[in-house]
Amino acid sequence: MANVVFDDIQKVYPDGTQAVFDLSLEIEDGEFVILVGPSGCGKSTALRMVAGLEEISGGKMLIGDKVVNDLSPKERDIAMVFQSYALYPHMSVAENMGFALKLAKVDKAEIDKRVQEASDILGLNDYLHRKPKALSGGQRQRVAMGRAIVRSPQAFLMDEPLSNLDAKLRVQMRAEIAALQNRLGVTTLYVTHDQVEAMTMGDRVAVLKLGRLQQADSPQVLYDRPDNLFVAGFIGSPSMNIASAKLIKQDGKIYVELDRGQTKLHVPDAALDRYPKAADLDGAPVAVGIRPEHLAPPNEVGPEQVWKGREVGLVEMLGAEMLVHFKTQSPPIVTDDMKAAIDDDEAFEELKRQAAEGGQEFVARFEPGAPPKIGSQIEVGVHTEHMHFFDAENGLALR
C-alpha cells in the first residue's frame, strides 16, 4: 500500500484541448478519496493517468513516493475497476480473478488460495466456475472487485464502478465497497459523477470542474463550507438554493435583501463569522445560498428571519420529509458555474426561464405534516445564521 500524489498534473490531448489543469492532490496511505464532478470535468482522465492508461502531459505523478510518469501500468502495481467491469468474457470467474497472478507467474496453489479468499469476502463461492455472461450485474461488479482485491496492489482505482447497476443495488454496493475498503485499508481513488456516492463513501472528496480542482475536503466540510458557488451547488440533494441578493447595514445590524429589495431578513453575526468578507459589504450584490433544511416553519426563527407571502409551487411528500417549492422574486445566478454544477441542460434552461420571469423557486425541507396547498401563501422561516455568501462575480466564498 502506498500514497498517491498528483503534483501539478496537466493533461493536454494531441489536438490541443486540455482536460486537466494544474491538479495537485495527495491521497494518503489507506485513504479513500473520491474524484467527483459533472461529465467532462477530467475526473476519469485523472484516474487513467494514475493507472498509466493515459499519458501525463505535465507535472509529476507519485505512487508510494516513486515518480511513475514513465512507468507502464504493470510496473505501477495498481488495480482498476472499470465502469463496464471489463471482465474477460472467455474466462470463468476464478480465471478472471486470478489472471493477473497467473501473468505474474505466481504458483497455482497460491493463486487458488488468494482467489478463494477474495471469493469468500465477496460471496462469489457459488459462481467461481461460471462465465461472466451467466452472472447478474451485481455479481459481475463483485468479480471486478475481486480481480482488484486478489492482486493486493498499492492502490485501487475505480472508475464509476456502480453506474451500471440499478438504484437499489447501487445503494447496497456503495455500502459494501466502503466497508471493504475500510477493512482492507488499501489506498483508493474512486471516480463518480454522483455526489451522493461521493458524500457517502469517501474519507475525502475532491470536486473537479472543467479540469480544475475546486475543493478537496471531507464530505461534511464540503457541505458546510463550500469554497465557491460551483461546489455549493453541486454538493447536496436537493441542491442549495442560490440567488442574487444584496447585503445592507441598518442600525448596526446586517440584513440580506431578497426579492429585489422587497424582502429584508436579519443576518446574525454567526453567519458573518464564517464569511468575514461579507460583513464589509454594504449594498453590494452578492450570491446567497441557503440549504433546503435551513428553511423552516416561521415559529422556529426570530421575527426578522421570516420570509412572508411565499406562494407554494409544488410539494413533494417523501415520507420522512416534505419538500416544499415556493416562488421568490430573487433572480437566480445564471453563470457557467451554475450550469456546470447543475450538469443538466434542461434544468439549466428551466432556471434561465425562471430568471427571465424575474424570480426562481426555492426548495424547503420540512418535517412531514399537513402539506400546504399549491398556490396558497405561506410564511417561511430562514435560518440566516446558516446562510452562505459568495462573490457575485467570481463565485468565490466571501471568506
Partner: protein, 329 residues
Amino acid sequence: MAVAISGVVAVVLGVGGALLLFWGLNAVVERLPKAQEELLKPYVFIGPAMAVVGVFLLYPSILTVWYSFQTRIGTPNQEFTLNNYVYLFTSSELRDSFINNALWILVVPAGAVAIGLLVAVLADRLRPTSEKIAKSLIFMPMAISFVGASTIWLFMYAWRPEGVDQFGLITAIATGLGAFPSEPIIQNTSFRLNSFALMAVMIWLQAGFAMVLLSAAIKNVPGDTIEAARIDGASELQIFWRVTVPQIRSTIVVVTTTILILVLKVFDIPRVMTSGNFNTNVIANVYYDLAFTFGDRGRASVVVVALIVLTLPFMYINIKRFREQEAMR
C-alpha cells in the same frame, strides 16, 4: 467489344427476366381470392429459388451418387458396379491427389488466417487513412479471378535457362541472390515445393478476405478488456494471445472453415499453372480429367462423391458457428 456487348445483354436479360418473372407471378397471385393469395404468396417468391436449387443442385447431386455405382454410363450396357469405389480406394494417382489436397487444407487456411490476422492487428494501430490504404492493398487480390491470379503468378515464377535475363520476379530475385534455381519452381517436386508455390497463390487471394472479417472482429473486442489486461500486467503479446484471440475465436473458426471449403474444391490454380502435372494434382482436377478428357463418368462421379463427403463436416461446423455468432448479436 462484341463480347462486352453480349455480356451487358446477358446481365440485362438475366436481371430483367428475373424481375419480370417475380412481377408476373405476383400479379397473377394478387388476382386470386384473399385467402388463396396469402397462402400462395410466400411460394411465389421462394418457389423459383427452390426450383433452381432443386434442378441445378439437388438433382445433379443425387444423380452423381447414382452414377458412382454405374459403369458404361449412357451406353446400352450401363449396369451396377462397385468398381468405381475400388478405384477410389486403390488408385495411386487419386491417393497422391488426396495427399496434395490434405496439404492444401493444412497450409492454405492457416496461412491465409495468419496473414489476415497479422495485417488486421497491425493495421489497427495505424492512423485511419493509412489503415484504409493498407487494407485495400491486401484486399485487392480478392477481386481477381483464380485463373487471372494463376496467370499472374505463372509470370512471377517464370524461368529462363541460366545466363538469359530472368523476367519472372521470384526466379530473378533468387538469381540476384546467387541462388539460380536449376529448374522452374513450378516443376520442382522435392518436398512438394511446387505444390507450396501453388498454395501461395491461394493464400495471396484469400488473406484479404480473412483480414476483413478478422479486422471487424478485432474492432469489436471491448477496449476495456484490453486495458484491464494491461493493468493486470499483460504484455502486448500476452494481450493478443490471451485476451484478443479468445474473444475473436468464433470469427477465426468461420474464416478458417470458409477458406477450407474453398480449398477442398481447389481446381483453377493447379489446372492453369501445371494441369496437375509434376505431382501437383488435386481431386477436382482428377475429376475434370476423368469426366472430360477420358469420358469416364462413373469414376468421375465417385471422386465427386468423395469430395462431397469430405466437405460435409466442415460445412456443418461452419453453419453451427455462424448460427452461434448470429445468436450472440
